[in-house]
């Protein structure tokens, strides 16, 4: 598969006495969906925040295309090509669906300082926004104000905005949570298609979805990596079975 496009080394995040992410080392490759599962509180969202620059790590490092991301802010990491979606929907509620995506696409273009031209007047930005809406299944909702969308549609918009920034690496934090079965299927198919030329980290509770697209599976518990490897092998691992059988959730796929 060649070199990983993004990898972490001993990545650790402590909140006071709590170690939310504990010495995590993982690799993301273009062409592969890397699923991360684990019970609530395992540290999956915190891991995403460390990769995207939303939070600085306590120790350890993140490397993107051979470059240490230490000290870079989230906007710089985003512009390098690492895009993310949020578990807790994080969109521009008063704006239309199109404007949400257009704004996302705008961040990629050099027109930002053309102050005497209308924002909607740039064909390249508009095309990126339209494509992202189309891919996420929101084309019919183009002119709706985001606040008036259903919860599931807002989740789709979350993904569309991430796509509109044209990332090479996608960090998707529970993208399917709150989505209807029809939309879920659509997004899983989309993730499968995107995997061809993107590196994707997928955090997800829906095991059927995970096993249908993941090429690599990491299980986290209490901030630590419990097991990581080829999905079928990880599922069969005694440690994983124990952890899941011991807890509330059943790994029953």
């Amino acid at each position: 598969m060649g070199d990983p496009i993004l990898r972490t080394e001993g990545l650790t995040k402590r909140f006071g006495g709590l170690t939310a992410v504990d010495r995590v080392s993982l690799e993301l490759y273009v062409g592969q969906v890397h699923a991360v599962i684990g019970p609530n509180g395992a540290g999956k969202s915190t891991l995403t925040n460390l990769l995207s620059g939303d939070l600085p790590p306590t120790s350890g490092s993140v490397w993107y295309r051979g470059r240490d991301l230490a000290g870079l802010k989230s906007d710089e990491i985003s512009r390098l090509g690492v895009g993310r979606s949020y578990q807790k929907t994080n969109i521009f509620l008063p704006f239309t669906v199109f404007e949400n995506c257009r704004l996302a696409a705008q961040s990629r273009t050099p027109h930002a300082w053309r102050i005497f031209r209308r924002a909607e007047g740039f064909a390249d930005i508009n095309r990126l926004a339209e494509e992202a809406m189309e891919a996420a299944g929101l084309a019919a909702r183009r002119d709706r104000v985001a606040a008036t969308l259903s919860h599931g549609e807002q989740r789709q918009l979350e993904i569309a905005m991430c796509l509109a920034t044209r990332p090479r690496v996608l960090l998707l934090d529970e993208p399917l949570a709150g989505m209807g079965p029809h939309e879920s299927l659509r997004i899983v198919e989309l993730i499968g298609r995107l995997a061809a030329d993107h590196a994707i980290m997928l955090i997800e509770h829906d095991m059927e979805a995970v096993f249908s697209v993941a090429g690599h599976l990491t299980v986290m518990v209490n901030g630590e990596v419990l097991e990581s490897g080829e999905p079928e092998a990880v599922r069969a691992s005694p440690a994983v079975q124990m952890a899941y059988l011991g807890g509330e959730e059943l790994l029953d796929v």
């Binding site: 906007d75 985003s78 994080n90 704006f95 705008q106």
Partner: protein, 330 residues
């Protein structure tokens, strides 16, 4: 929505034209009063760019207003008229530079700290001019003669003439409105609104939000400087009062009273504020109570805040906004 925006545009255009006809009908007193209001409207629009479109609530905006006033007063030799061509760009440029430098510091803070730090900068400037001889101390400086633009023997524009001054200010106000409207429609303007709505998400999308906020701060400071320049010319003097925190508070009230984030709202707010101030402080209307005009002004602001959350502009624009969301729901 199309229809209601068009109706609004027509209303605003009609109001602007009405203002154009005003000096022919009315007295010099009112011509000067309206000039003052239009200057405050420019000042309020400049603040709306920060408060209403970028989400930065400044309580020190008078710093730019006053700085430009002092700049023109200090640049002009006594008993000479300021040269419009050099002093206007110089005063505005100085304000932009001051905004650039202070912006680097104040924009590192947010929320209530931003309010405090902007206030602190304005207060430092206030005491600089109040306590040193730099700008004539608390007495200030007079600008005895107003600029004139001549073409050979004919005077094209004589700002000593109340009507000329009025039209000059009218043009500036319309130009600033048009300029800001254009800027706000651009990708830059949309990015500012994105920052106001959800700065965290803007950063995650790859926007270097600090740079955008700094640009807005500089633009806003420069335009406030334009207003302060005009005010200094109109009053014929500057003293530390024009950069006091009362002044910063007054312009913020105009923005809120008129309706922030609408651009035309702060213009309405400037009219409402100055006219109410005239009325409440008029002894012929309120007798001895006129001394306490601030009390009535406070009550007016409270009433608007309670019953018109969108400000006076909400009276004009709200039906349109509601319709837009309903239409989208269909």
């Amino acid at each position: 929505m199309q229809q209601s925006t068009r109706a609004l545009t027509l209303t605003l255009a009609a109001a602007a034209l009405l203002l154009l006809a005003f000096p022919f009908a009315e007295s010099k007193f009112y011509t000067q009063l309206l000039s003052k209001i239009m200057i405050m409207a420019i000042f309020a629009m400049s603040l709306d760019l920060l408060v209403g479109y970028t989400g930065l609530i400044s309580l020190g905006h008078a710093a730019f207003f006053g700085l430009a006033g002092y700049a023109v007063a200090l640049m002009t030799p006594q008993y000479e008229a300021p040269d419009l061509w050099t002093s206007l760009p110089a005063a505005v440029g100085l304000c932009a530079a001051f905004a650039l430098v202070t912006g680097f510091l104040v924009l590192r803070t947010s929320g209530v700290y931003f309010i405090m730090v902007t206030l602190a900068f304005a207060q430092m400037l206030f005491f600089l001019f109040h306590d040193t001889k730099l700008g004539g101390g608390s007495d200030g400086i007079y600008i005895y003669i107003k600029p004139e633009i001549r073409l050979g023997e004919t005077s094209l524009l004589n700002l000593d003439d109340a009507r000329h001054f009025y039209y000059f200010v009218w043009i500036m106000m319309i130009a600033v409105y048009g300029f800001l409207r254009t800027v706000l429609r651009s990708t830059f303007g949309h990015a500012l609104l994105g920052i106001k709505t959800n700065e965290h998400r803007m950063r995650a999308l790859g926007f270097a939000t600090f740079r955008y906020k700094l640009a807005a701060y500089v633009l806003s400071g420069a335009l406030a400087g334009l207003a302060g320049y005009l005010a200094a010319l109109q009053f014929g003097f500057v003293n530390p009062e024009i950069l006091s925190w009362h002044q910063s508070g007054a312009v913020l009230m105009m923005v809120i009273l008129g309706g922030m984030g609408t651009l035309f709202g702060p213009v309405i707010g400037a009219f409402a504020f100055v006219l109410l101030q005239e009325m409440f402080s008029n002894q012929a209307v309120l007798g001895a109570f006129a001394k306490h005009w601030q009390l009535l002004m406070g009550a007016a602001v409270i009433l608007v805040a309670l019953y018109l959350p969108g400000g006076l502009a909400g009276l004009l624009a709200r039906p349109g906004r509601k319709k837009a969301i309903e239409a989208d729901d269909g």
